[in-house]
Point group: C2
Chain length 320, copies 2
């Protein structure tokens, strides 16, 4: 590797938030946890700690970002979104670390290292992401084939198609009934690390915007990568002092849902702007950057987009 | 923080292994993934990539370990086991990184960032870890109380009791029917990174020993922290050239299952030794280190135990 080294003043992880639930009425059982192991009598009743959130942090020796940069992933995914790309290039976690940002990368409640709760704690069943589903919904290709050689990208698509299976390895199940718990955990994270810049992707629009509206003094900027959900239109003025950058990629006109989802984002941006806010909506193809999927932090030009975001943050005075 | 900085020549993550399963016969459904979002028609049939394993790596600039150090956690847990301790001290991941080891820390199949498979792919239901269950089974205390102030540690116990709730935040559900998939994924990891030193905890005894017996040339040493399962006694001679260190903590005589589990480990150690192998079994209390729980990588003396392991590896010629 000829990459420059990375020097950290600290790194580690913690969990925030969560609550204790009491399970009762289950019969005692015997579990042999590992083949060849010693059977254990297990009482499944009692206290379980659920809805905590896993956060991993990397703090560069040469800090330049004035506030922590919190990376919040989208639905069906985990913090792995921001790590090494599926084809092995650097992801935004290390790219922004190299730019001098204190990084806090989390797994939303019920995803990844945050774990999930026993049955009946949350309504409904988890939703699993199929290979076809993500391929089409994330605007990588218009149709799916189980045969890798037959998978056609949208023309000019910059997602690393040859590594799509590695992307599918990152998919994690998700519930659709845990938004309040997730918002609580993200608030606990902000309580712990203080005023922050939020980098939010897709589903996390539904977490980042409402949290910033509830406590705008704790959010120094929002970078929203194709937010699937926006904030409360009636409360748009609460973001008038929180600079917002919204990025949209290519091929949205070819998608069933993305035109409507972008429209929700644009309407919210207009409302915040009308209230005196500083919102920049960057339609990447209109700005001459063609070919980005919904997973632009993994696309072949992900470093260019990271530069663009960092420069925008610097222009807002958030880089020392 | 007055900790010395950490300089990395590289860091990142990847997934290894897994297989594609085809789900069929499910009706199409409509899912509104996020409150306020645009409903999506979702076909739940088709290809899912399951049983891959998440691996995160940190490679120090000043490398001293001659081989990668693979950290394999125990049941009901994830790679978080080796990160910052529940009370915020450094865990073995950074302690061994500072000693110059290339670290590969993974989440076993179906845990954490490895994700879990749709229903019916694996037999049985996931097992959830209650706060009481881990407290007693991991030999932190003999009895449980929901009231933190009333939780009594075993006398002299070194687990950071005041942070027990943070430990409970790390618990993740686990299946008991995925051992073969996990062994396949760990083998895929070794295929990728080459000959390695294995640091295995608890359940991972059932993965590390059989893998080393199947391909001893790829395993340069095994450090087994209270393995819950040992290898195949009939194949003990296959480990005659793989140095093994087994560590056992305190309070085993007070446990229901640990006397039998330790006995399985000791019998296996004897068999490998009889076949000409180099096995050191270190009973920590007998060596004058009292108070260790099953989670000794989190106990208050975790840095002392890391030193002891590193020195043992150095004496086997595995440190440059």
């Amino acid at each position: 590797m000829s990459k420059p080294s990375i020097t950290l003043r600290d790194m580690g992880s913690f969990h925030v938030g969560g609550r204790i639930v009491e399970i009762s009425g289950k019969p005692e059982t015997t579990v042999t946890f590992s083949a060849g192991g010693v059977p254990a009598r297990v009482d499944r009743n009692g206290a379980y700690l659920v809805e905590a959130m896993y956060v991993q942090y990397f703090l560069p020796e040469a800090r330049k970002g004035k506030y922590p940069l919190l990376m919040w992933h989208g639905g069906g995914l985990s913090g792995v979104t921001y790590e090494t790309t599926p084809d092995g290039r650097e992801g935004w976690l290390t790219l922004f670390l190299r730019k001098g940002w204190d990084i806090y990368n989390s797994d939303a409640v019920e995803r990844g290292r945050s774990g999930f709760a026993p049955p009946d704690v949350w309504p409904g069943e988890p939703h699993f992401v199929s290979m076809a589903d993500a391929f089409i919904r994330h605007r990588i290709g218009a149709t799916w084939s189980d045969d890798p050689a037959a998978r056609e990208p949208l023309p000019g698509n910059l997602f690393p198609l040859e590594a799509y299976d590695n992307f599918a390895r990152q998919f994690v199940p998700r519930w659709t009934t845990t938004d309040a718990a997730t918002v609580a955990a993200y608030n606990a994270l902000i309580d712990k690390v203080g005023p922050s810049v939020l980098l939010i992707h897709s589903q996390a629009g539904g977490f980042g915007f409402p949290i910033a509206q509830a406590r705008p003094q704790m959010v120094k900027a929002i970078v929203a990568i194709e937010p699937a959900v926006a904030g409360d239109m009636a409360q748009a003025a609460r973001l008038k002092d929180v600079p917002i950058l919204m990025l949209y990629g290519d091929f949205i006109g070819r998608s069933v849902r993305w035109p409507a989802m972008r429209q929700i984002g644009l309407a919210f941006a207009d409302a915040v702007t009308a209230a005196g806010g500083d919102v920049e909506v960057l339609d990447l193809p209109a700005a001459g950057m063609h070919g980005n999927s919904h997973m632009m932090m993994m696309d072949r030009n992900n470093a260019d987009i990271a530069d663009l975001i960092h420069d925008w943050l610097a222009r807002r005075g958030l880089v020392a």
